[in-house]
């Protein structure tokens, strides 16, 4: 038994026993048990993943566990990358969970589900057969659903839970049809058999399978238009669960697409990947646009997840496209960018969700319009969230910058395109990625500037106090990881690059330790040097201003506030007003609802008593796409009650006629 197998066995054992102990433990130490168990499970997961990347093999087949199809697990390097990511997020989330235990989160169900959720996520990338994959997938969906419903007494949580339950099972259903179709055509359900049969399937069947998989796994990754559950469920879950879902679970959607597309099918025709790029680009732009106009901090982060998964899907699609054209170097570059962005996104999104949770813990609100002024009272949270916002906004020296740079390099080097479809899709995608980067800066400037700086906009924000120590430790772990990924991406690059090249049978696309050099295409980047230069330049500027300005006499003066001051916090910029210009530019896409109510005095219509302005930015795709479906289902639900009037005779009749129908069908088929 090697280290990886030992660590994986340990992870499952620790996770399950932490869940059992959490059930038995009294409510005081319960979060500690569950949190430590989760963190340890995650750490063991990271160990196992690292072991596999170092060349160890993990392979377990238990035909007796599940009737008919048994279970088989095998961890290869692709799965190992995702396991390391999940493990890393779980460490931070677990440590955070030790102290993050407001009412409701303390309950037995929630605390015991947390380690189980991590275990089930760790199992998904290990599954080596269709049956095992779906068993683990469903386990993951069920445990996360229970966690989303933690604060089930609030009506919005119930709604979010319903959306999540329905959509996650819809995705599961689509992916299941796809994979069962695949397994039926391959006459076997282990991935090894599928891998053998994949390339020889007829294009129609494999195309159908891929589209079903893309929809099924894409819904898990929050790809538009199947994203509707994500901005609902992620904000309503407790924050460390949000971090686990948003930074670890959504990645598994990408994992599924890569596993099926690259590993099992070994690449595919061009149109598959053009479809993936298009969906990814739409998700990226739409996600970040919704994030830019949202004022609910956690919802904003949820939409940002949709954006980042969209970017990853663009990179995956680009890799497939280049591979189908025989350009393996660029394909490896794009796939490396995809994996690196998965890793980076997980790091900074964990940080952001945990910091948002700390904010929620301290103020009790997620509404940016009621926050602000937290720099003095919550210095650690403010500093870490500020770093996270920079990391997420695709600017150097942020974390997302490196992977988005790699993605853009691969897309730009893909020009000049081969064929008409490429010629349209590739340049538009480059533009979409650039637009996404720009909008993400606006979004995170808003989230950080309005949420943390200036003066408190409400009493809750004024009374905020810094969160307990373990929460700050967890946030700092995530912050340090994302900082390391930003400055030394070469720490994560060989691993992600090797996985990409192994999948594509290509040469390494990115090399170098301090400088990142593209192999086979021109391009070089050194995040560390860039950061050092930025810091030196900033220091010189500050020093120059200090020395030059110090010569003049300084005069203290009152802030000019039109003579009427002091200005109240009401006069500050709010998240709504900050996003207003953007919302106006993208009016046709966002289509906000405005409502102005003016209340007059009875004596005269010229004397205004109150003015109430309400603005809501509903998700238009959700409203126009899901509205009719939901209405149709509700209608069917009402009508279908006529089928079940309560008469036992009728129910027996149903059974009788069904059996007759089945027999007739069988006779006819012979």
């Amino acid at each position: 038994m090697n280290i990886a197998e030992f660590a994986l066995g340990g992870a499952i054992f620790v996770g399950v026993s932490a869940a059992l102990i959490a059930v038995a433990a009294p409510s005081g130490p319960r979060p500690i048990v569950a949190g430590l168990g989760t963190a340890l499970t995650g750490a063991l997961g990271v160990t196992a993943g690292s072991g596999v990347l170092a060349g160890q093999r993990v392979s377990v087949a238990r035909p007796d566990v599940l009737p008919l199809f048994g279970t088989s697990f095998e961890l290869d390097s692709l799965g190992a990358v995702f396991i390391i990511v999940i493990g890393g997020v779980a460490v931070a989330a677990g440590v955070y969970g030790i102290a993050y235990a407001p009412n409701g989160v303390r309950s037995r169900t929630t605390q015991s589900m947390l380690p189980l959720f991590v275990v089930s996520m760790l199992l998904v990338p290990m599954a080596a057969s269709v049956g095992t994959l779906f068993l683990c997938w469903e386990l993951m969906a069920a445990t996360s659903l229970v966690l989303v419903l933690t604060e089930h007494r609030r009506p919005e949580v119930l709604v979010a839970g319903q959306w999540y339950a329905v959509m996650t099972h819809l995705g599961f259903f689509l992916a299941m049809i796809g994979l069962f179709l695949f397994a039926a055509s391959a006459a076997g359900d282990t991935f090894a058999e599928l891998r053998d049969a994949g390339p020889s399937l007829s294009p129609t069947v494999s195309g159908l399978i891929f589209v079903l998989m893309l929809a099924g796994f894409g819904s898990k990754a929050g790809i538009v238009p199947l994203h509707a559950w994500l901005p609902r469920a992620h904000p309503e879950a407790p924050s460390h669960v949000s971090a686990l879902m948003s930074a670890a679970m959504v990645n598994l959607g990408i994992y599924g697409i890569v596993r099926v597309g690259f590993d099992l099918f070994g690449g595919g025709p061009q149109w598959w990947w053009l479809l993936a790029i298009t969906l990814g680009a739409i998700s990226a732009v739409y996600g970040i646009l919704q994030a830019a106009v949202n004022t609910d901090l956690k919802r904003l982060l949820g939409y940002s997840t949709t954006e980042n998964m969209g970017l990853v899907l663009v990179a995956v699609g680009a890799a497939g496209l280049f591979a189908s054209q025989g350009n393996d170097v660029l394909a490896a570059l794009a796939l490396t960018a995809a994996f690196l962005h998965v890793v980076n996104h997980s790091a900074f999104k964990t940080l952001l969700f945990l910091a948002a949770g700390s904010l929620l813990h301290a103020t009790g609100t997620r509404d940016l319009d009621e926050l602000g002024g937290l720099r003095k009272t919550m210095p650690v949270t403010t500093a870490t969230f500020g770093w996270g916002a920079l990391a997420a906004s695709a600017l150097p020296p942020g974390t997302a910058f490196v992977s988005e740079w790699l993605l853009l390099q691969s897309l730009i080097h893909g020009l000049p395109p081969q064929g008409v479809a490429d010629a349209i899709v590739l340049p538009v995608t480059v533009a979409a990625v650039a637009l996404t980067a720009g909008l993400s800066i606006a979004t995170f400037v808003k989230a950080f500037g309005i949420g943390f700086l200036a003066r408190p906009r409400s009493v809750m924000a004024e009374r905020a106090t810094e969160s307990p120590f373990p929460m700050l430790v967890a946030i700092s772990i995530a912050g340090l990881t994302s900082g390391m990924l930003a400055l030394m991406p070469s720490a994560a690059l060989p691993a992600t690059g090797d996985v990409a090249t192994a999948l594509l049978d290509a040469d390494a696309a990115v090399a170098g330790t301090v400088h990142l050099r593209l192999v086979g295409a021109s391009g070089m980047l050194s995040p560390l040097m860039l950061t050092v230069t930025l810091i030196v330049a900033a220091a010189i500027t500050v020093a120059a201003v200090r020395t030059l300005a110090a010569r003049r006499r300084r005069v203290g003066a009152r802030l000019w506030d039109c003579g009427a001051g002091p200005m109240p916090a009401r006069t500050e910029y709010t998240a709504t007003s900050f996003a207003e210009p953007l919302q106006r530019v993208f009016d046709d896409v966002v289509q906000p609802d405005h409502n102005v109510d003016v209340d007059h005095y009875e004596e005269s219509r010229y004397l205004v008593r109150t003015i109430e302005y309400r603005r809501r930015v509903p998700d238009r795709i959700e409203a126009s796409l899901y509205g009719p479906i939901v209405a149709a289902v509700a209608w069917f639900g009402r009508v279908a009650t006529r089928l079940a009037p309560g008469s036992i005779h009728r129910y027996l009749g149903y059974g009788f006629y069904t059996v007759c129908g089945a027999l007739i069908l069988l006779v006819l088929q012979r």
Binding site: A557, R558, W560, C562, G563, A564, G565
Partner: protein, 159 residues
Amino acid sequence: MLSLWRKIIRTGRVVEPAEPRPAEGAAVAELDGSAQVRHVDAGSCNGCEVEIASAFGPVYDAEQYGTRLVASPRHADALLVTGPVTRNMAEPLRRTYEAVSEPKAVVAVGDCARNCGVFADAYGVAGAVSDVVPVDVEISGCPPRPDEIVEGLRKLTGR
């Protein structure tokens, strides 16, 4: 665009001929030749505002004498105060005066600003402008004519 040019050519110069420059020179020596002016309505009936607007219009064109209206006391050299100073405006006027950088001047425009005019002893009035901030130039009239305002402003710049 063409019609605008036509209009300009057809209209020609409408500005009043310049009077001789004031004998005593600039009211504040450092402002010699140029004064950025911030207008403060301390409680005026808006009669003076109408006249100030035409003083800076094309006919009287106060800007040719080096005065210019600006949007903040932080940009200004001088204040142009109209109206009796009401209780609500006394403190803001004082703060506005403090916000103007040194050297600074105050012009009281109209009878109300000089001695409260018809509003003298009214319950909402804190006093004349000179009761609140030091006044350098006074322009009388209710309201003063635009040419009188221009004359007063020229005392400020000495041009």
